[in-house]
């Protein structure tokens, strides 16, 4: 009898949604529990860091790692899980390309601390104290992991074998990845798995008519036609520059895609691709008109890189 594959799950800077997403395979979770040995899953089971540290290097067959690398503890665990795992999977947008936490790369540690611990209107902090990596309490010493200036993806921290996009990945895709793993049918390392090879637009049922727009609308400003392409109605939609796989979910609620499945195959920078796609629907014959129309797009960086700033070419903004 062949030994069951040993599988681990871990979360770093995450929201917990990726762990819930694993459970979203619903009754198949029992099949999974049958087919593999889950050796580490802090959210669901009683195992500790020490257990993992005690394992031999490479003794975990596959580790599904969600969450971004925001602090020193996240990085330590990324290195630990890499060392112990034969296959390391970046699961979900945060691990894959920084996710929402990577919007923090529009600021830095000092900026975030200033806002959270001084600037916020409910904060009462006359002494301007800040969390410290090491602090002497009356009763003893307390420690905190160092908070980084820049959020990194898992792949920017350690070598990663597979990437599963999505915030969070959709259940049918997660299951497809588990199946491929169990059957030994995973593609070559370095691949994106649990997603399609096209764009969200290719899966979307909203009809495209090659229309151009004279005006962009923000989502609260317009009630769109539920049958037609949102982008062609002037709502910035990330579908054209986002990898297929979710089934074009967000447009089914009459709201635009925000790009959580990351760039489509062959695209190096999702934001740049999206910029071109959005510009392509601008109905302008003069420079002035083009300028006027695109000036209605509210927040290019936060929209085009909503889930992937850490994984973008420039990775972060320049701050003082």
């Amino acid at each position: 009898m062949v030994a069951k594959p040993r599988v681990a799950f871990y979360w770093a800077a995450s929201c917990g949604g990726c762990d819930i997403a694993v459970l979203e395979i619903r009754e198949k979770i029992l099949d999974l529990a049958q087919a593999v040995d889950i050796v580490f899953w802090p959210v669901a089971m009683d195992f500790k860091y020490q257990d993992v540290e005690a394992m031999e290097d490479g003794s975990i067959d596959a580790c599904f790692f969600n969450g971004a690398i925001r602090n020193a503890e996240n990085e330590r665990l990324a290195r630990l899980m890499r060392a112990k795992s034969k296959i390391l999977v970046a699961y979900g947008s945060c691990a894959y390309e920084g996710g929402i936490p990577a919007l923090g790369n529009l600021s830095n540690r000092a900026g975030i601390f200033e806002t959270v611990y001084s600037g916020s209107p409910s904060t009462a902090n006359p002494d301007q104290s800040r969390p410290r990596t090491s602090h002497e309490l009356a009763e003893g010493e307390a420690e905190l992991p160092a908070f980084y200036d820049t959020v990194k993806s898992l792949g920017q921290t350690v070598d990663v074998d597979y990437f599963v996009p999505g915030c969070p990945p959709q259940a049918h895709q997660t299951w497809a990845v588990f199946e491929a793993l169990l059957k030994g049918e995973l593609p070559p390392p370095g691949s994106v798995v649990g997603a399609g090879q096209k764009t969200v637009c290719d899966e979307c049922e909203h009809v495209k008519e090659e229309k151009r727009v004279k005006q962009f609308f923000r989502i609260h400003e317009i009630i769109p036609d539920a049958q037609k392409c949102l982008l062609e109605q002037g709502i910035v939609c990330c579908g054209p520059a986002t990898r297929s796989g979710c089934g074009a979910l967000c447009p089914t609620a009459n709201l635009p895609c925000r790009g959580c499945y990351g760039p489509p195959p062959g695209v190096v920078d999702q934001g740049a691709k999206l910029l071109s796609a959005v510009a392509s629907v601008v109905d302008a014959d003069t420079e002035e008109e083009a300028e006027r129309i695109v000036s209605q797009i509210a927040d290019p960086i936060g929209t085009f890189y909503r889930f992937g700033l850490a994984g973008s070419l420039l990775r972060r903004s320049r701050t003082q």
Partner: protein, 489 residues
């Protein structure tokens, strides 16, 4: 001085750790609940268009994204000075009620419930959902799974996704409820009301029928009189989606009832150098340290707190259960934190009844669920009751609606101070002259903690059914002199 670390206690919007310090005599000097994680949403939401915040801030928590989505959308409504149409508001509440049923069911059966159903002294190996199944029958497991699935199906029907749904936007909902969809919701709601009643019956049989458990609930180790907070409607009845925040003192007298935009007059947050999470307290009472009582600004925001802070439930079956609970326990307010499990299933019943009311409201399928804002955006506060506490989002924008300030007081953090206090109390009761009752300490600390349903014990704490805990006792030189653990060796 000794230091005991319980590390890590898995998730609380990040990872958590408990440090218990002993003094020279081996008595508990203090206990700290340390949250070593911060993601900085308050900063990186600045510069974003405010209408995108519901979809961004929901990523604070994948366990209760619905709560963030709605608090955020309500803050956006206020920023744009817009009222959603009546059907839009009702649809938001319908969506939220469905979520509540799923979340409370998960917590009761999978997280907190096993402590009761199996009893706290049961072998930890059976103190989990599997043990519950063994004791009360396998059909229970099926029902819990079905409750969750039905709830999530409604969430997805409206919100497009089960985790991180997206349907709430400034001015209302992005999607209305179709006639066929409504039939489906109504059918589920009826099922859920039955399920909630079944749950209460189960609780009666297994818990209230057993004096040992009742004694445990009412025991002193878990009593923490503080202020209590919860959202109430016009008649001071519990509401999850809308209303005023009511705070009562440890004797049950009303301290204040405030509208969302008045939160800054009422809540302040402390910064401590040993944790990344800020600690909220009642501004008018003031910060007196990690302690309960009328002079301390520490408050709780849990299911029990909501029941304490209100004067009743807005639906008939839940109201009857509300009355019965307080009668059984000898009046209001109740301070025993473990009672929150009971309060939670009363809320479960309320959520199911409310869902049914809304699903059968003639207006609910009205396609007019959005108002387009026309006024210049300025500033707004949105508050909902998250399952784990009152949730406040506060945004200020420029004239373009780009965020210049974003302030968030999230569910679980409300309870950081009382959790720390409960943990210290539990530890004080269990550590005398440096002597530790090993399994007892871990169990009790865990139960004190879990009663709050902190996000770290999120919906998935499923398989072995108890939290991995480790207590390390260190001497002055930082050397390990004793190690107690569960779920580790």
């Amino acid at each position: 001085m000794k230091k005991i670390s319980i590390d890590p206690i898995t998730r609380l919007e990040g990872h958590g750790r408990i440090d218990i310090f002993l003094d020279e005599d081996g008595e508990v000097a203090n206990a700290y609940l340390v949250i070593p994680e911060l993601r900085g949403f308050e900063k990186f939401c600045q510069g974003r268009p405010v209408e995108e915040l519901p979809r961004i801030t929901s990523r604070i928590c994948g366990v209760c994204p619905e709560a963030h989505l709605l608090a955020s959308a309500k803050a956006c409504d206020a920023v744009y000075h817009v009222e959603p149409p009546s059907a839009g508001k009702k649809l938001r509440e319908l969506f939220y009620s469905a979520f509540y049923v799923g979340d409370h069911a998960t917590h009761f059966y999978i997280l907190g419930g096993p402590d009761f159903v199996m009893g706290p002294d049961a072998d930890p190996a059976v103190r989990n959902i599997l043990g519950v199944i063994g004791k009360v029958g396998v059909e229970v497991a099926g029902k819990v799974v079905e409750a969750r699935a039905r709830a999530l199906d409604i969430v997805k029907m409206l919100g497009a996704r089960t985790v991180h749904p997206i349907c709430a936007i400034p001015g209302g909902m992005s999607k209305s409820l179709g006639a066929e969809e409504r039939v489906h919701v109504e059918e589920s709601a009826r099922w859920m009301v039955d399920f909630a009643q079944f749950t209460i019956q189960l609780f009666d049989d297994l818990v209230l029928g057993n004096q040992e458990y009742v004694d445990l609930i009412l025991g002193d180790v878990f009593a923490l009189p503080t202020y209590y907070m919860g959202l109430v409607d016009d008649n001071n009845r519990v509401n999850f989606y809308d209303g005023l925040v009511r705070v009562v003192d440890p004797e049950g007298g009303e301290l204040v009832k405030y509208a969302p935009h008045e939160y800054l007059d009422n809540i302040a947050e402390r910064v401590e150098p040993w944790t990344y999470v800020k600690i909220p307290y009642l501004k008018k009472v003031g910060w007196k340290g990690f302690t309960g009582g009328k002079d301390s600004g520490v408050y709780q925001a849990t299911p029990l707190s909501r029941l304490n802070a209100a004067e009743g439930m807005a639906t008939p079956l839940a109201q009857a259960e509300y009355e019965r609970m307080y009668e059984t326990l000898g009046g209001k307010p109740v301070h025993q934190t473990l009672t929150t499990h009971w309060a939670r299933i009363i809320e479960l019943l309320y959520a199911a009844e409310r869902l049914l009311e809304l699903a059968t409201d003639p207006e609910i399928t009205d396609p007019n669920v959005r108002t387009i804002p026309t006024e210049t955006p300025t500033e707004g506060v949105g508050i909902v009751e998250a399952p784990r506490g009152t949730l406040t989002h506060h945004y200020v924008t420029d004239e373009q609606g780009l965020v210049t300030s974003c302030n968030l007081i999230v569910g679980t953090t409300n309870n950081i101070a009382p959790m720390s206090t409960s943990i210290r109390q539990a530890a004080q009761g269990l550590i005398k002259k440096g002597e530790v009752i090993s399994e007892g300490l871990l169990n009790m600390v865990e139960m004190a903690f879990r009663a709050y349903d902190p996000c770290m014990s999120c919906a998935t704490h499923a398989l072995p059914g108890r939290m991995p805990l480790e207590v390390r006792i260190l001497n002055d030189a930082g050397q390990l002199i004793e190690r107690l653990s569960q779920g580790i060796d």
